[in-house]
C-alpha cells in the first residue's frame, strides 16, 4: 500500500472545470429569468435546492446507518459520503433563500382564503410555521452531520474505537430525527405544492427516493475520483455492494411508487386521482420515463452479477437513476406549480448542471480536509478483505 494516495489534491484543472459548470448554470439561470415566468424559474430553483440538499442528507443517513449496524464493508469508502454530507450547510442556506420565492411555487401561500379545502389546513400550511419547521430540521440535520464528521475526523488523530463508540449515540439520534423530519420535509416542500392532494405514503416514498439518489451520487463521485487516480484501494467487492444497494433500494422505491399509485388508481376517489390524472395526461412521456429510468433499466442490468462488479456499468446505472430521480422530482413540482404544461429544455438542464458543479466543488473541497482512508476505524480491515457470494 505504498503508492496509494491518501490525501486529495484539489487541482486547478478540476477547479476550472467545476467553475465553468457553475458558470454554465448561472447562464442558464439568467436565460430562464429573461425568458420564462417567475413560477417556472422558482420551481426549477426549488427542484434543484431540494434535490441536492436531500442528497447530502442521504449521505449522512448512509454513514449513520452503517455506524448503528456496526458494518465494516463500507469503511474504505466512508470518506466519500462524509464529503457529500458536507454540502448540507451550503444546501441549507440555498434552501432558506427559496423562501423568497415561496409565493411563486406554493399556491396555498396566497389562495388560502379563497379556497375552503386549503383554508381547512391553515393551522399547518401557513408561512410562519413553514419557516419554523424548515429552520428546525435544517439546523438539527446540519448539527448532527457536522458532529458525525468531526468524530470521524478525530479518529484519524487519536484512538479510533473511542470516537467510533461516541459516534453511535449521534448516529442513533440522527436516524430517529431523520425518519420523522424527512416525512415532514416531504409534506412541506413537495406534497403541499398540490395543496388539495394528500397521500399518507408520500413521505416514505420521498425518503426512498432520497436514499436511492444519495447511493447513486456516492457511486458517481467515487467513479469521478477513480478516474482522477484516487481511491484505487476500493475493491471490486466494495463496488459490488454499492451496486447491490442501488439495485435493491431501486426495487424498494418502485415498490412504494407502485403501492401509492395502485391504491389511488384502484379506489378511484376523485380527491386523490386528480393528482395522477394530471400527470398521466399532460406528462405521459415523463411519467413512463420515471419508471423506466428508476426501475426498468437498472433492474435489468444490475440483476446480472457480472455487471454489478464493473465500475463503469454501475456508474452509468447510477447516472440513469440520478436522472430518473430528477424526473420524479420534476413530476412532483411542475405539474402542481404551473398551470400550463411545461417541457424540459436548456434552462432546466443547465440549472441542474450548475448546481451539480457547485455540489461537486463543495464535496471535493471537503475531501481535502481529511485523509481519504479513516485509518483508525475499527473495521477498516474488514472492508478490504471480505468477499461476496
Amino acid at each position: 500500500m505504498e503508492n496509494i494516495k491518501l490525501t486529495f489534491k484539489f487541482s486547478k484543472k478540476i477547479k476550472i472545470v467545476l467553475g465553468s459548470l457553475i458558470l454554465f448554470g448561472l447562464i442558464a439561470l439568467a436565460y430562464g429569468i429573461l425568458n420564462f415566468s417567475s413560477e417556472k424559474v422558482w420551481s426549477a430553483l426549488v427542484l434543484n435546492s431540494v434535490n441536492f440538499v436531500t442528497i447530502s442528507l442521504g449521505a449522512t443517513f448512509f454513514i449513520a446507518i452503517h455506524i448503528i449496524t456496526q458494518s465494516g464493508w463500507h469503511v474504505s469508502l466512508q470518506r466519500i459520503p462524509e464529503a457529500i454530507s458536507m454540502y448540507l450547510p451550503i444546501g441549507a442556506i440555498i434552501l432558506i433563500l427559496m423562501i423568497f420565492g415561496i409565493n411563486h411555487v406554493y399556491h396555498w401561500t396566497h389562495e388560502i382564503h379563497h379556497d375552503p379545502v386549503i383554508s381547512g389546513k391553515e393551522a399547518y400550511l401557513n408561512i410562519p410555521f413553514f419557516v419554523i419547521r424548515l429552520v428546525i430540521y435544517l439546523s438539527v440535520w446540519t448539527l448532527l452531520t457536522l458532529k458525525l464528521r468531526k468524530l470521524s475526523k478525530n479518529s484519524d488523530i487519536d484512538d479510533g474505537l473511542k470516537f467510533y463508540n461516541k459516534s453511535r449515540t449521534y448516529a442513533a439520534l440522527f436516524l430517529v430525527f431523520f425518519a420523522i423530519s424527512i416525512v415532514i420535509f416531504a409534506w412541506d416542500w413537495l406534497m403541499s405544492i398540490e395543496a388539495h392532494w394528500f397521500s399518507t405514503l408520500f413521505g416514505w416514498y420521498v425518503m426512498a427516493g432520497v436514499i436511492v439518489k444519495s447511493f447513486a451520487l456516492i457511486i458517481i463521485v467515487l467513479a469521478i475520483l477513480r478516474s482522477l487516480g484516487y481511491f484505487e484501494f476500493i475493491t471490486t467487492d466494495n463496488i459490488h455492494d454499492l451496486a447491490r444497494y442501488l439495485f435493491s433500494f431501486g426495487i424498494f422505491w418502485m415498490y412504494l411508487w407502485f403501492s401509492q399509485f395502485m391504491l389511488i388508481w384502484y379506489a378511484n376517489l376523485p380527491e386523490e386521482t386528480f393528482y395522477f390524472v394530471k400527470r398521466v395526461e399532460n406528462y405521459k412521456f415523463l411519467f413512463l420515463l420515471n419508471v423506466v429510468l428508476n426501475f426498468a433499466i437498472p433492474f435489468l442490468v444490475l440483476i446480472v452479477r457480472k455487471f454489478r462488479r464493473i465500475l463503469w456499468i454501475v456508474t452509468s446505472m447510477a447516472v440513469i437513476v440520478f436522472m430518473g430521480q430528477w424526473v420524479d422530482q420534476y413530476l412532483m413540482i411542475f405539474p402542481g406549480s404551473m398551470k400550463e404544461v411545461q417541457s424540459i429544455g436548456f434552462f432546466d438542464i443547465g440549472l441542474t448542471i450548475g448546481f451539480f458543479g457547485l455540489f461537486l466543488w463543495v464535496v471535493l473541497k471537503s475531501l481535502t480536509k481529511a485523509n481519504l482512508l479513516p485509518e483508525n476505524h475499527p473495521y477498516l480491515n474488514e472492508s478490504f478483505h471480505y468477499k461476496n457470494i
Binding site: 381547512g120 399547518y124 394528500f198 405514503l201 415498490y255 391504491l263 389511488i264
Partner: protein, 446 residues
Amino acid sequence: MSEISTREPLIKGNKSLTNITDDVFNPIVARPNKLWFFGLTIAGTAALIGLIAIVLTVWKGIGLWNVNKTIGWGWSITNFVWWVGIGHAGTFISAILLLFRQHWRTSVNRSAEAMTIFAVICAGLFPLIHMGRFLLAFFIFPYPNTRGVWVNFNSPLLWDVFAITTYFLVSLIFWYVGLIPDLGTVRDRMKTKFKKVIYRFLSFGWTGSAKHWQRFEIVSFTLAGLAAPLVLSVHTIVSFDFATSVIPGWHTTIFPPYFVSGAIFSGFAMVLTLLIVARKTMNLQDYITLNHIELMNKIIILTGSIVGVAYLTELFMAWYSSNEYELFTFINRATGPYWWAYWIMMTCNVVSPQLFWFKKLRRSIGFTFFMSILINVGMWFERFVIIVTSLHRDFLPSSWEMYKPSIIEVLIFVGTLGIFFSLFLLFVRFFPVIAMSEVKTTIKNK
C-alpha cells in the same frame, strides 16, 4: 483477523465444532423432559378443541359466528392477518438479514423459519373456514373448469391466494434447503437403526461435498434474494385487501409498508416469546445469547417506531385531507365504543416498545419476555381495531352495528394457538433447532 472489534462474539462458551454438533444433536435423541410433555398436552388439547369448533362451523355454517352484515369480517380475518404477520419474522431473519450479512441470525434463523411456516398454516385456515364451503376451497385457484367461469384477477383477495401460497411454498423450500446439511449430520450421528433410516431419507443423501456446499451457498443466497421482496409483498398484498376499498380508515396509501413493518414487529415478538422459553428449557443459552435478544429488541424498536410513525401519519392526514368521513373514523376509533381496543393497541405497540431504548431493559430477559407478549396482544388489537372499528360505523347510520365474537370464534382462535405450539414443540423435538453448519462457519477457533 487481528482487528480490534467492538462486536460481541456470536456464540459463547468457546465451542469446538463437535461441541456444537453435540449440543444440537443431544436433544433429538434424549428423552424429552416433563415440561415438554406437559406443553404438548396443553397445546394438543387446545388444537383439538379448535378442531371441534371448526368442524361445527363447517357442519352448521358461519351462522355460528357473530359476524353480521355490517361487520362481515370479525375475529376470523383479524386472526388471519395476525398470524400472517407473525409469519414474517422467520423469512425476514433468514432472507433480509442474510443479504445484510448479519451473521448473528445463524443461531435463530432455523427456529424462526419453522415458526413462520407454522404461523402461515394457522393463518391459511381462517379464510378457508370463512369461505363457508370448506371442501370447495379449491375454487379459488384459476383452472379451466366445467362451470365456465374464471377467478377475478382484479380482486385483492385473489392476490392473497397467490401471495400466501407462494410465501408458504418458498418459505418451506428455503427452510428445508437449509435443513438438509444438518439432517445429514443428525443421520451420521444417529445410532438407532430405525431413526437412521428416517433421517437418511430426510437428509436427501447429503454428503458435505465441496461442490454441494458451493451450490448450497449460491442457492441460499439466491433464495434470500427472492424471499426478501416476497416478505414485503405478502403483507403488502394483505394490506391491499383493505386499502383498495373506499372505506374510511382502510383506504390509505401508507398501508403496504406499514403493514409489513407491523408484521415484522409482531413476528419478532413471537420469535422472542418462543426462543426465551426454548433457550432456557433446551439449554441453548450459549447459542441464543443475551446479545441475540438485544439485537432482536433493537429490531423491535425500529419496526415498532415505524408503526408508531404510521399511526401518527394516518391521524395527521385524516385531519389534513379535510375529509370528514376519514376524520370521523379516527376520532371514533379513539373515543367511540371501541376506544379500549384502540388504547390497548396504542400502549402496547407505540408506547411500550420505546422502553427498549434503555440498554438495561433491552438486555433483561424477563422484561423482554413480558414485552413480547404485550406486543403480540397489541398487534392483535391493531388488526381488530382496523377491521371492526372501520366497519361498525357504516356510511348509512341505519346499518351501524356492534360486534362481539361468539364462543365458537374464540375457540377457533384458541385452536390455532394450539396447532401452532404443538407443531413448534414437535419441531424442537425432532429437528435440529440451531442451524449447526451455519453456526460452525461463524466460530473462530476452527
